[in-house]
């Protein structure tokens, strides 16, 4: 008889770092990045000025006005949009068992943008319990798009991956064309209005504070609620039949994952429009560091996505100052090559 070695902690053994430690490091980094980015801009504020203004808002003077009415809402919006897109990436990649699944690539962002644009155009003033019609329609648009892409990808069996990408691309293109049409009509009717144009390019806005706090709360609740789903996605990585055999309610997990993903996407789009590839880039880098476990990846990706988009947005608004380029253009430049790399890698692996 051979003796059995004492069981090691499964997920944290070997070279993969501990979950809690990773999350703390990412959280501290995010806080630092937020404070530093809030100081960067046409009026430069030092780290101590920013911290003093945050701790004693009453005595901050001009710096306080700049921070609280412009900079902080903007960096927080970027953080929330990045967290939402990146977390959705993890959920959709687990759902489709494919590292290329991303809310932008799959057309969910396009659906959310069209839904939001349509609502802005048709019901510009409607709002229920503080939630604008555009946010609700964005959610509906993302949900509907995912349902269509899912059913197209499912039916195609063997070539599911290719079909999923093609379906997402085709539907996304159509949705974006429709959003562009809304934009043109809207701008003709309201000269100088750029609300919808901003959505198409993917630019972080400066949202009112009540919107920032509402979205923060909803997003944290959604991500925490998705943690049990992330565990199920690990089992579903073995395939639907295998997961069903192990007692996972596969269909329920799928529907819940799509709903949470669509919600996070809609929130992100309502803050910054069509920002592509965040949900692809960030989870990929974190997967290399932490391994593929969705349960660890989900919160890490939310924090990582927030860090990434705050940095990207700060670069987008300062590098060509006074010209501001939409952050969506920047992420496309970074994300496009990453997408092609992953596509190539996937082909080789087969």
């Amino acid at each position: 008889m051979t003796t059995v070695a004492p069981p090691q902690q499964l997920v944290t053994s070997s070279s993969r770092p501990r979950t809690a430690l990773t999350l703390v490091i990412l959280g501290v980094t995010l806080a630092l990045v937020l404070v530093v980015s809030a100081g960067v801009g046409a009026v430069r504020l030092s780290l101590s000025e920013v911290l003093r203004a945050i701790l004693h808002p009453g005595e901050a003077g001009d710096a306080g006005v700049i921070l609280f009415s412009l900079r902080l809402p903007r960096v927080l919006a970027a953080a929330l949009a990045g967290a939402g897109l990146s977390a959705t990436g993890v959920l959709f990649q687990g759902l489709f068992r494919n590292p290329l699944a991303d809310p932008f690539v799959l057309g969910a962002s396009g659906g959310a943008a069209l839904g939001g644009a349509a609502a802005m155009f048709v019901f510009p003033t409607l709002s229920v319990a503080g939630v604008g019609a555009s946010a609700m329609f964005a959610f509906a648009g993302a949900l509907l798009t995912m349902a269509i892409v899912w059913s197209l990808a499912r039916r195609s069996g063997q070539h599911g991956i290719e079909n999923m990408l093609l379906a997402g691309f085709a539907i996304g293109t159509m949705l974006n064309a429709a959003t562009s049409a809304f934009e043109l009509v809207h701008e003709a009717a309201n000269p100088g209005a750029r609300i919808l144009a901003v959505w198409l390019y993917g630019q972080i806005g400066v949202p009112p504070w009540n919107q920032v706090s509402l979205i923060t709360v909803v997003m944290i609740v959604a991500i925490v609620a998705a943690l049990p789903l992330a565990r199920r996605l690990n089992t579903m990585a073995l395939g639907d039949e295998y997961a069903a055999q192990l007692g996972v309610a596969v269909n329920r997990v799928r529907v819940q994952t799509v709903i949470v993903g669509a919600l996070l996407t809609a929130l992100a789009v309502s803050l910054g429009g069509l920002i592509g590839f965040v949900g692809l880039l960030v989870p990929h880098v974190l997967r290399l560091m932490l391994g593929p476990d969705h349960f660890r990846l989900l919160p890490a990706a939310a924090l990582g996505g927030a860090i990434f988009l705050v940095l990207a947005d700060t670069a987008a608004r300062t590098v060509f100052a006074p010209l501001e380029i939409p952050v969506g253009i920047l992420t496309a430049f970074l994300g496009g090559p990453a997408f092609l790399y992953l596509l190539h890698h996937k082909r080789k692996a087969r």
């Binding site: 059995v4 069981p7 499964l10 055999q245």
Partner: protein, 283 residues
């Protein structure tokens, strides 16, 4: 003693095509049974029905005295483990992470692994000799290694009944012997084994009993040696007059097979004329 598993007049159709009609069979606890029959006769379907993945159109499947339909899903997953033909895993999941999925039916609401779960996973990997592969990425494993990892997942479920779908398919002779030896050991530990097997020699030498599914709506059960008569095999596999005689002569069967192949198809011709086709089949 009542059988552990019993099919009572089970019918199942896929679209318009009837797979089973009024099929009845039974399995006792502790048995090691080979499920035999031609391609497409429904061996995988039968295993999926026992695992609760497919519902019979009519009739009942009784497991441990209770209709499978009325089993709680988690209880069923703790009692019956199905080892499917293939397992493809995306991303770089490691062997121990995958084997740990076998604990899912035992886990609580929050799905975290207890010390006991970790110990079971450890023992499952030890039982099928994949401990040394624990930190390897599943995608990078060979066919034989993957087969053992799949059985380790099933072991981690701590099942009473293990169902295996073609566990020796696509393996070289050495790996086939390993897997079959492993199944014998698991059976000796008290796990009831039902395995769909294509290779009649493996079935004859390693299983106590066989269940032969034929395209007729019946199945024939008996000791594997009894089943491997030329008449039954010709009926089941639908080839009249083929040389099935070799399977009923245990001692000389391998020799017989070699001689048979040698005379029928000289090696040169196989390489020369059929080389291309063989390659395609292998892929």
């Amino acid at each position: 003693m009542a059988p552990f598993l019993e099919f009572r007049d089970v019918s199942f159709a896929r679209g318009a095509r009837a797979i089973f009609e009024r099929l009845s069979l039974s399995l006792h606890a502790g048995e090691r049974v080979a499920l035999l029959g031609p391609n497409g006769v429904g061996k995988s379907t039968l295993l999926a029905m026992i695992a609760g993945l497919l519902r019979p159109g009519s009739g009942t499947i009784v497991l441990n005295g209770l209709d499978v339909r009325h089993w709680n899903r988690r209880d069923l997953s703790r009692t019956v483990a199905l080892v499917p033909q293939t397992l493809e895993v995306p991303f770089s999941f490691r062997v121990e992470e995958i084997v740990a999925q076998g604990r899912v039916p035992h886990l609580g609401r929050f799905g975290s692994l207890s010390a006991r779960d970790l110990e079971v996973v450890e023992r499952a990997m030890e039982a099928v000799d994949v401990l040394q592969l624990r930190n390897r990425v599943y995608q990078e494993l060979s066919g034989g290694e993957r087969q053992r990892v799949k059985i380790a997942i099933a072991m981690a479920q701590e099942p009473t009944l293990m169902l295996l779908d073609e566990p020796t398919q696509h393996l070289d002779i050495g790996r086939q012997i390993e897997i079959v030896g492993l199944l014998r050991r698991l059976n000796e530990r008290g796990i009831t084994v039902l395995a769909a097997v294509h290779d009649l020699t493996i079935a004859r030498d390693n299983f106590e009993r066989g269940i032969l599914l034929t395209s007729e709506p019946t199945c024939i059960s008996g000791s594997v040696a009894e089943l491997l008569t030329p008449e039954l095999l010709a009926r089941a596999f639908g080839v009249d007059g083929a040389n099935f005689g070799r399977f009923s002569e245990p001692a000389t069967a391998l020799q017989h097979a070699a001689v048979h192949q040698g005379t029928a198809q000289p090696h040169r011709r196989v390489r020369g004329r059929h080389g291309r086709k063989i390659n395609r089949d292998l892929r």
